[in-house]
């Protein structure tokens, strides 16, 4: 913001506003929602007011929330970890060998292009209704951004560093491990941020198809009994969890790889 302009607000007020702008906007939005519901006398089963959602949240026993949360979190995190374990070696293989790229990449695109929501019932038929099928569904949704970001990152390693490695006649695995993978860390973390939110989506999709517990299941079940405030409470809980997981990825990056953060 270099342009010259007269500012009506004193700098202190302006700074305060900048800091809390998003919070103020959010609170205003919730307030507006509450007002519309009250003034318009909208029934709870159409659009519940924030207050009724708040109450619905506390009407459900805490231990029940924990059970559903654990079910969803377990599937999301295991699916997420599985997709990391699968996608990094795939990316390494594709970076190291043109042939592997030709073999693997089309298959990856096919998997990615297939709508997982449509495949999910088939996977349940194939693998049963337990955690494994739900984890596989989550993994199918989350792995692609990881493979792409890790591959891109490794390919963006400066040519000179690769030449340095070649001029030292170092073993190839060290080129991958000591140069390419660390170089890809910023990219990998961008991929992880996308994937972690997709992991929650994957887990919920799987629960929609077949489950007896989990936040996705809870939302579907509440809706079918017209407990709309309760469904909204589940939805908001899910969104908060998703946000926290997203934030955790950033925390882990700051903690383990501070050098990989963008320079201010």
């Amino acid at each position: 913001m270099n342009q010259k302009r007269t500012d009506i607000l004193p700098p202190k007020v302006r700074a305060w506003l900048m800091r809390y702008a998003s919070a103020i906007f959010f609170i205003a939005l919730v307030g507006l929602w509450e007002m519309v519901c009250r003034i318009g006398d909208i029934p709870n089963y159409i659009l519940p007011s924030p207050a009724s959602i708040f109450n619905a949240f506390f009407d459900v026993e805490f231990s029940r929330w924990l059970t559903h949360l654990w079910a969803t979190l377990r599937v999301a995190l295991l699916g997420f970890v599985l997709s990391i374990v699968i996608s990094i070696p795939l990316a390494v293989a594709m970076v190291r060998s043109e042939l592997m790229t030709r073999v693997i990449y089309p298959a990856l695109v096919v998997v990615q292009a297939t709508p997982v929501v449509a495949v999910a019932p088939l996977i349940i038929v194939l693998m049963g209704t337990g955690d494994p099928s739900r984890i596989l569904i989550t993994c199918m949704i989350t792995f692609f951004p990881l493979v792409v970001s890790a591959t891109t990152g490794m390919l963006e390693t400066p040519a000179e560093l690769v030449e340095l490695s070649q001029s030292l006649r170092a073993p190839r695995y060290r080129e991958t491990w000591q140069i390419r993978i660390p170089y890809a860390i910023p990219h990998i973390f961008s991929g992880l941020k996308v994937s972690i939110t997709l992991a929650i989506i994957g887990a919920v999709v799987a629960e929609f198809v077949a489950a007896e517990e989990g936040l996705g299941y809870f939302i579907q079940f509440s809706t079918s009994f017209f407990k709309i405030p309760q469904a909204f409470a589940g939805l908001i809980f899910l969104a908060v969890i998703s946000l926290l997981l997203f934030k955790s990825v950033t925390w882990i990056q700051t903690w383990l790889f501070p050098w990989s953060l963008p320079k201010k």
Binding site: P158, E163, R169, I179
Partner: protein, 260 residues
Amino acid sequence: MAQASDRAFVRMEGVGHCYNPEGGPMAVQQIDLEIHRHEFVAVVGPSGCGKSTLLRMVSGLLIPSEGKVSVFEHQVTEPRDDVGIVFQKPTLLPWINVRKNVLFPLKHKYGNYSKADEKRADELLAMAGLSQFAERMPDELSGGMQQRVGIVRALLLNPDILLMDEPFSALDAMTREQIGFDLLNIWRDNPKTVLFITHSISEAVLLADRVLVMSQRPGTVLDLIDIDLPRPRTTETIQTPEFAELTARIRKHIYEPEAH
């Protein structure tokens, strides 16, 4: 001594290269050059004339499609331990500190390094005036300091031959002149045989014992000029008429190639 200097450290005989194996335009052709012990040879030429190709062929990163490159009278077929490279950009690893960057070639080649190696890294850093930055991360250093670390890194394995690929081209003019003098000091204390690629004529004349002038692509030798300016060379060297004469001679080659 006389005998040692008779033996060429680097020898190129009729060297040419074409990047397309099926044939096509040559990047460089008909290069003949001998570089002797502890000699500093600079290569200048217009951009795209194949200067870097030349360096890569000496390093063994690239095998010429024509002619023969030998180091210590052995034909170069792969990178050698006695050749160190300084690249155009310092290309330090941003996730390790300066000392570890200097030690990286050992870590990368052998998987580990000893206390003695660490001591040597510290000595080299001290020589380059970087002692107090050993623990810093690369992005905390200026461009000139980063490139000095790059030079120190190339010296760690104590190569007999140092290949430098436009190492100062990313630096601003003032830093560039200073680091040139720093390099001369390092070279005086650690004599090496140097092949130095640059597109700065004055840099070539200031640093080198001999300057190879290359033509437009396909790069070939236009002239090989002995630079008999006395050493140590300083800022005063730049102001001597001999310096002006030599740079003018090279400039003529570059700007009026049809005259030859």
